[in-house]
């Protein structure tokens, strides 16, 4: 359960988020909205890269905003970035291991077990020893995903994980996201421009427009909403 209360962010004169208040409870929640709507900004507030001028976020009874960014990661917050951040000169396993290094996972064997589980889950178990630089776009996205799954994640934030992927790869990504809650116990917030992806994975969806909450509710209903169509889907079709 994540309670977002009155969160407001402005950059100089630009209001990126305005009094956002919403309660999220489903295993996978979508966040959609046109370009510049404030989606990434919301994730940055979660991560601690942006300090909101106002408001609070309470996640599983913890005041998220009271912690520093790396402490939030240790607490169980995970995220992937809009531009993927796989390190080229580390092996796939080391990219994931780098994440575990800072987390309170005690034994070495437990770390290795978790790395193996995460890599197997994203179907990269055969590539554990390859360098990041040897991977294609899809594999890089999957390494990022694996990084979010180790060390008992509580919340996984995914910022357009499907950007730049081919159709069959998006299908595989969809399956992967759907299984996160069951396999790793984490709640997922998913930003994506692909409406089919959102429809197939997210039980409820938040729609942002110019930093304001335009709509929130079960995904199927939200996608039929006329205001959402006008603000978001209309723009999508026009593009």
């Amino acid at each position: 359960m994540i309670e977002i209360r009155d969160v407001s962010v402005s950059f100089g004169g630009v209001r990126a988020l305005t009094n956002l208040t919403v309660n999220l409870a489903d295993p996978v929640v979508g966040i959609i909205g046109p370009n510049g709507a404030g989606k990434t900004t919301l994730l940055n507030v979660f991560s601690g890269f942006v300090t909101p001028g106002w408001g609070s976020i309470c996640a599983f009874d913890t005041d998220l905003l009271a912690m520093r960014p790396h402490q939030r990661a240790r607490w169980g917050l995970r995220r992937s970035f809009q531009t993927e951040q796989v390190v080229d000169d580390l092996s796939v396993a080391d990219n994931v291991r780098a994440m575990l290094d800072s987390l309170p996972v005690t034994s070495r064997s437990e770390r290795e077990r978790q790395i193996e589980k995460a890599l197997t889950y994203v179907h990269l178990e055969g590539k554990a020893d390859e360098l990041g630089s040897a991977l294609n776009t899809y594999e890089r996205r999957m390494v990022e995903l694996a990084k979010t799954l180790v060390g008992s994640p509580k919340i996984v934030l995914l910022d357009e994980p499907g950007a730049g992927l081919r159709d069959e790869e998006v299908d595989a990504l969809r399956q992967t996201i759907l299984g996160i809650n069951e396999q790793f116990g984490a709640m997922t917030l998913l930003i994506d421009h692909d409406v089919e992806m959102i429809a197939a994975t997210c039980i409820s969806t938040v729609v942002l427009d110019f930093g304001e909450l335009l709509a929130f509710g079960p995904t199927a209903e939200i996608l039929k909403d006329d205001r959402v169509k006008a603000a978001y889907l209309g723009i999508e079709e026009a593009e």
Binding site: G48, H70, Q85, V87, D89, A98, M99, S102
Partner: protein
């Protein structure tokens, strides 16, 4: 690999004459110093222009320790390295907030500060008080295992290998992975739970520690040190040559040491003014910045891989 290096360390010193023994000793010592510069530059993408000053700090502490306690060289060396590591970390503190040009300038100011201090006070040479300055210098003896120049060259080579291994160990474990994330982006590192400030400070401390080792070896070789060896400009030159030689591979750091100390000596030896070396360094730096970001070592290694591929292709 290690075996062939061991063979080199065993054989080469016995082939050199007195002049070149000394030149190579100081080349290897500055290879060690450059190893520290390279930790910051290659692993964290940070420019530190205080490395030679930190070598001076290590030398100062080593001399001070020996004159005060008479303990074995290795103990004094360790003390010098630790203090130099702490000083390096303090100079690096601004790095927690700055990067690029501003950080480089701050570290350069640190180097200039050391230059001013040590020019005013000189290095300890057996006198009383904290500064330990005497009118006639007492020389610190060589380490037991390095009493002749030949033995000393082997000694510094072994220490250089140990320093390489120390850096390599860091690179392959937790700090190395944290550095890799920080270099990728600090946001990514923080989102991965990395304490960015801690691991940057760790990088500066390691670079300073290694500089301190180099300073101790310099003091151990010469017995006394002179402030004119540690001007801020030498720190800049060492950084530039680290880029020219190649910061990403130990071979590049060996080249850096040779360029820094052996190139001027060779030029002098064949009757050319040693200052011509600076012209060559300048050209080398331009070359590195424009076409070879991994330095001469990178080019050599690329060439070798190409060659191996062509052989395999046949």
């Amino acid at each position: 690999m290690l075996l062939s290096v061991a063979a080199l360390i065993l054989i080469v010193p016995s082939l050199l004459d007195a002049l070149y023994l000394r030149v190579f000793i100081s080349s290897v010592i500055f290879t060690i110093a450059a190893t520290g510069t390279a930790v910051l530059y290659a692993r964290l993408g940070l420019v530190s222009l205080a490395q030679v000053a930190l070598v001076g700090v290590g030398g100062w502490v080593t001399l001070r320790m020996w004159h005060a306690t008479g303990l074995p060289f290795e103990v004094n060396m360790l003390a010098g390295a630790i203090i130099s590591g702490v000083v390096g970390m303090l100079i690096g503190l601004p790095a927690l907030r700055m990067r690029g040009l501003f950080l480089a300038l701050i570290t350069l100011m640190g180097a200039a500060g050391f230059q001013i201090l040590v020019t005013g006070t000189q290095f300890p040479n057996g006198g009383d008080g904290v500064l330990g300055i005497a009118v006639t210098s007492i020389f610190m003896p060589r380490p037991l295992l390095g009493e002749s120049d030949e033995a000393m060259l082997r000694y510094v080579c072994v220490v250089a290998v140990l320093c390489f291994l120390l850096v390599e160990f860091n690179r392959r474990t937790r700090p190395g992975r944290a550095w890799a994330l920080i270099r990728k982006s600090e946001a990514c590192a923080m989102a991965s739970g990395v304490n960015v400030a801690f691991y940057k400070a760790w990088g500066f401390a390691l670079a300073g520690f290694i500089a301190g080792i180099a300073g101790a070896l310099l003091a151990g070789t010469l017995g006394v040190l002179d402030a004119t060896t540690f001007p801020a400009s030498e720190s800049i030159l060492l950084f530039a040559l680290t880029v020219v030689g190649g910061a990403y591979h130990w071979l590049g750091l060996v080249l850096t040491g040779l360029l820094f100390r052996a190139a001027p000596a060779v030029l002098n030896d064949i009757g050319v003014n040693g200052h011509l070396a600076y012209v060559i360094f300048g050209a080398g730096l331009l070359h590195a910045l424009i076409t070879a970001p991994t330095g001469i070592a990178g080019q050599i290694l690329d060439g070798l891989t190409q060659l191996a591929k062509r052989r395999a292709g046949r």
